[in-house]
């Protein structure tokens, strides 16, 4: 790791990853001490690496018993969204509907463009060389499983 800010960033992200609810709560001075840097460096790291843009909410309190709390929200939202999609998919799924769902996932930035293309290909009727009604059932099963992979990663 190249510099102190990166190290602290990694440390905090690790804490969030290990946490139950995508949250970490720290005492600024304590972390500064741990990494042997000035306290305000924590503010710098937070301001440059835990922005709202990147899906973090930062709350803090001063005074005795003060703290800084960093919450990662995007994953929650994404999880909710993916759960929603899972509910949407019934026993069967047409190619058109599947493609709409894939497009939606791409728009929601849950999957990359390449992943979208891969999944599109997988659920195409030309790829699944099976007759109806079985084809729609397999397609639903495939997409459900893919969503679960994304949902339960990390």
């Amino acid at each position: 790791m190249r510099n102190m800010s990166d190290i602290i960033e990694q440390y905090l992200k690790q804490m969030i990853a290990e946490s139950k609810n995508e949250v970490v709560e720290i005492k600024r001075a304590q972390i500064a001490e741990k990494f042997d840097c000035v306290p305000s460096q924590l503010n710098y790291v937070i301001k440059t690496r835990f922005t709202n843009e990147l899906g973090y909410i930062v709350e803090s309190k001063r005074g005795g018993g003060g703290y800084i709390r960093i919450t990662k929200i995007e994953t929650h939202k994404k999880a909710d969204y993916l759960e929603h999609l899972l509910n949407l998919i019934g026993d069967g799924l047409s190619q058109t509907n599947a493609m709409h769902i894939i497009q939606s996932m791409y728009d929601a930035e849950v999957i990359s463009f390449r992943e979208a293309k891969i999944i599109d290909t997988v659920i195409a009727r030309e790829t699944l060389m099976i007759g109806l009604p079985k084809r729609d059932i397999v397609r639903a099963q495939i997409l459900r499983n893919i969503i679960e992979v994304i949902l339960y990663e990390e």
Copy 2:
């Protein structure tokens, strides 16, 4: 070896060759010191010998802990590799063989870890709820199509 730029070029290429992932990461000032030249000479060498044209990607960061990272990308090799995999896949494909291919693709850095997991899921017999021998045929078809998506992108 006639001049400093050539020497530095050779040095960097040597580093890349010895590296695990066709990457070298340097500190500009440090290399300049090592070869007793001005730092900006590194920029010259990189600009003239590690161009995108020649298959290199250069990334950098300034400030404390800054760096210059040069990555060699072997697009041709990857294409050859993927073609090879396509030839490998016959009319049918067992889950075990498919998983080996997926692992290989991940090792070759042709797919990401997440993509590997997605594809693993898709080709699992639990996902493809079809009986043999049809299942192996569909699996082969799916993997072939996925590889083609990756092969013919961009």
